[in-house]
């Protein structure tokens, strides 16, 4: 059967702008903000950009920022997909604690490390699936649905560790937290690989577009024949998976599982990183690499305040000031002032 187009002669089509040139990436507010924070760090601490090669790996403040920022960056990768669907996952910090507790308890009871790592990842997937089921099947608002696990998760982690801090010296777990690959700290490598893989999966398949569609208008998504439920299950499960990886890294770093403090408040940093990365809490357009950049901005500020000798209390004040600046830069107001569109693309509305 021919479509109605068949007998219509083509006329001039509206122009489609070419793909964005690569240099526009460097004019994004997030990149400018990161560079600014790094420069301030350098002014406060002239040795900030010094990187040395020691014992087969890189050392330096910059590497430290990457290393310390990796767990939040990994959380932010999962969180981006969730927020793009107009949801939020408050439980990722607690899931980190569960994952660490599972791995630590298993290795200390003699289970092979690979099995323990897989079990921890499976626990994260399960937690994410639980959130997804609450959100899709029971149709609970995401902030409430994930609050359940945020509170209960720490309790679960404490039950697993039986209330104590379970320490270990398993080489695989320690490698995940403090090892290095090709001179870079393992957490950094994991975060970069995860970022690239996740970005490729959402952008090379239709997954990204479908996630955005669900976030922009869930009802219209249903009418258009999308299985919004399946998509939501996937993004929450993925967020749980990311949280489990972050939990393993943090546990490996301190060589122990601290059910009370592992990942505490990190869900908020992850949400912040996503928002700094330009993904709206109202769902829709999202960018995983920019969310990772957001995590790096947060960590650069933390590190800067630490090495410059200010007391850590300043951290919160400075952080909020920088956040305000970034959000103002992203607002429609500044888009008007700088004659750019909020999403940074050249636009030509009617």
């Amino acid at each position: 059967m021919t479509r109605p187009t068949a007998d219509i002669r083509p006329s001039s089509q509206p122009p489609h702008p070419p793909a964005r040139p690569i240099y526009t990436f460097f004019t994004r507010p997030q990149v400018i903000a990161l560079v600014a924070v790094l420069l301030v760090n350098w002014l406060l601490f002239p040795g900030f950009f010094t990187i040395t090669w020691q014992d087969g790996r890189l050392f330096g403040s910059l590497i430290d920022v990457l290393n310390r920022g990796a767990p939040v960056a990994i959380l932010a990768i999962g969180m981006t997909a969730v927020i793009a669907t107009k949801g939020v996952d408050l439980s990722v910090g607690a899931v980190m604690a569960i994952s660490g507790a599972v791995a630590a308890t298993l290795v200390s009871s003699g289970v092979p490390a690979t099995v323990a790592v897989l079990a921890a990842l499976a626990a994260g997937l399960l937690c994410g699936l639980w959130n997804g089921i609450l959100v899709t099947v029971l149709d609970i608002q995401p902030i409430i649905a994930t609050l359940v696990l945020m509170v209960a998760g720490r309790g679960l982690a404490q039950l697993i560790t039986e209330g104590s801090i379970v320490t270990f010296a398993d080489p695989l777990l320690v490698f995940l937290g403090t090892g290095s690959i090709l001179g870079l700290p393992t957490p950094v490598v994991i975060a970069i690989v995860l970022m690239i893989v996740a970005t490729l999966i959402v952008r090379r398949t239709a997954l990204g577009l479908l996630i955005e569609a669900v976030g922009v208008n869930r009802s219209a998504a249903r009418f258009a024949g999308l299985s919004a439920g399946t998509l939501l299950l996937i993004v929450y499960t993925f967020a749980g998976f990311c949280a489990a990886i972050a939990g393993l890294i943090v546990a490996g770093d301190i060589r122990g599982a601290d059910a009370n403090n592992a990942g505490l408040w990190l869900e908020l940093d992850a949400i912040l990183a996503v928002v700094i990365g330009g993904t709206s809490l109202m769902g829709g357009r999202f960018s995983i690499p920019l969310a990772v950049l957001g995590a790096m901005i947060i960590q650069a500020m933390n590190t800067g305040i630490l090495i410059s000798g200010f007391s850590p209390e300043f951290n919160l004040v400075v952080k909020s000031a920088v956040i305000i600046v970034i959000l103002v830069l992203q607002s429609p107001l500044s888009a008007r002032v700088f004659r750019r569109r909020p999403d940074g693309r050249p636009g030509n509305p009617q």
């Binding site: 109605p4 089509q13 239709a206 922009v216 219209a220 258009a224 024949g225 636009g347």
Partner: protein, 506 residues
């Protein structure tokens, strides 16, 4: 009604408004008199809403002057306009649905006692006020408990209370059914007789002729004419709006006997607890029109067919094969498409681009991993935008920036892209301009000729008559009549809707 016995209240002289390169209004004069209903007509993009925004203070003109009772005024914003007596009521009621009627009426200026809100007095005042509009409702109840018509009247009452000289009604009837429209018109006529100047914007020409005294027609930012309506015919008005003649096909018999193909889709006893089971077979190359008042179950039938609501009973047979349709994804897999009634809520993805809005259903049907790449998307979007004459500066702009008519065409394009065999259209021409309207009616006819089965719901009887092979009439969530051939005529449909001499249903 002649111009001379009326005094001008609000006057606009030589208004110019420029957006970037685009002259939205080009030296437009407009005069609203006391005690008249003045209709403002024009296609989308003609400059109606820009003019209204200037008259109410939302925009400032680049040149030209506003005069109120002969005195020049400069409006900073709508609130400032309100203080001069210029009030507006929009299509979507701009009140607080979860507050009481009385609170909505007096919000911001409630009667107080000892510095506290005097609830009882405010409720008494509200009752008195609404009584003048012939409305006897519980003013303590939440506004959202009432029909849109009642909410609309409450909004008018509030606007008249606050301003009281000029009332702007921006598409007030778009979501009302016939009786509600009549009720609203009585209210408006009353206000006119009290000397208010009313500016009325709508897409429904019959309502213009029903209600308005004078009409101003805009086209491409210029005023074409201001004239008393009793000197004009519908054809005159349409011709001036479009700048050309349009003719709808008004020969029902030609379609009644038109050739049609085999049965394509059959609904056998499909029903749900709130919907009586119905049987319907739709052939290839056939348009089944659906008529009925709002709330008669028209939309519910469409939702059942498409699996938006799950049927409790009955079956769906496509080309002789029984299908399970329990959600829209399964309906799409069966080759169905559905343009829903509420474009904004259920149709468009506002922030996504025109291109993404067009390809989304096809992409969802293909699945996640058979991805349409950028070139495929550009090609598809270009092809269907072309076929339906979708007017967008480019296909990467967010679809929410398009006009209602173009958004409707985008949704239609989305379904044509999946190559459907059965298309459900729920009020496809509601709230869109005359040009887009004609385009969509043409598309329906073209799709039928190509052998699609179509199920089209519309409140506009002329339109239903023009494109339907058969018309199904709904009343009280039941299909009460089916008209074919010569029986398809507006008066016959009205009789069937009203339920005149037929056996009573138990």
């Amino acid at each position: 009604m002649s111009d001379t016995d009326k005094t001008p209240v609000l006057e606009a002289r030589g208004i110019v408004k420029v957006f970037g390169q685009h002259r939205a209004l080009d030296t437009v004069d407009f005069t609203a008199n006391a005690g008249e209903v003045h209709a403002l007509l024009g296609e989308n993009g003609a400059g109606k809403s820009t003019l209204i925004k200037i008259l109410t203070g939302a925009y400032q003109p680049d040149s030209g002057a506003l005069l109120l009772d002969g005195e020049p005024i400069h409006l900073r914003d709508p609130l400032h306009g309100q203080s001069y007596g210029i009030g507006t009521v929009y299509q979507e009621v701009n009140l607080l649905p979860n507050r009481s009627v009385a609170e909505n009426l007096f919000l911001g200026r409630q009667p107080t006692r000892f510095g506290l809100i005097d609830r009882r007095r405010s409720e008494d005042l509200a009752r008195d006020l609404l009584a003048r509009y012939g409305l006897a409702i519980d003013v303590r109840a939440e506004l959202s408990e009432f029909s849109v018509a009642v909410q609309q009247i409450v909004a008018i009452a509030r606007a008249v209370e606050l301003s009281g000289k000029v009332l702007v009604l921006d598409e007030p009837t778009a979501s009302l059914d016939r009786n509600e429209v009549q009720r609203l018109f009585e209210v408006v006529r009353n206000l006119r007789d009290q000397g208010l100047s009313i500016i009325f914007i709508t897409h429904f020409l019959d309502q213009v002729f029903d209600l308005a005294d004078r009409v101003t027609i805009l086209r491409n930012g210029r005023k074409i004419v201001t004239q008393p309506l009793n000197t004009l015919s519908t054809t005159d008005v349409v011709r001036m709006m479009l700048g050309k003649d349009v003719a709808f096909d008004h020969h029902p018999s030609a379609l009644g006997g038109a050739a049609r193909g085999d049965v394509h889709v059959q609904f056998k006893g499909l029903g749900r607890k709130d919907m009586s089971p119905f049987d319907l077979a739709i052939h290839e190359g056939e348009v089944v029109g659906v008529a009925g008042l709002l709330g008669s179950g028209r939309t519910e039938v469409a939702r059942l067919m498409f699996g938006v609501d799950t049927a409790d009973q009955g079956e769906v047979v496509v080309k002789g094969k029984a299908m399970t349709i329990r959600n829209p994804a399964q309906a799409v897999a069966a080759g169905f498409g559905f343009c829903p009634e509420d474009r904004k809520l259920d149709g468009i993805f506002g922030d996504l681009s025109v291109r993404e809005n067009i390809i989304i259903a096809l992409q969802a049907k293909l699945g996640w991993f058979r991805t349409l790449n950028r070139d495929d998307q550009i090609e598809l979007a270009g092809r269907y935008a072309e076929a339906l004459d979708i007017r967008a500066a480019n296909h990467d702009m967010p679809v929410r920036l398009l006009s209602g008519g173009n958004q409707q065409k985008v949704i239609l394009a989305r379904w044509l892209a999946i190559d459907p065999t059965f298309l459900i259209l729920d009020e496809p021409t509601r709230g869109i301009d005359v040009g887009a309207h004609a385009e969509i009616v043409r598309t329906i006819n073209r799709l039928r000729e190509e052998g699609l089965a179509l199920f089209v719901i519309s409140s506009e009887l002329d339109e239903v008559v023009a494109y339907s092979n058969r018309v199904v009439v709904m009343r009280d969530r039941e299909m009460v009549a089916e008209l074919a051939g010569d029986a398809i005529a507006p008066d016959g449909i009205v009789q069937a809707i009203a339920g005149t001499p037929r056996e009573t249903n138990a």
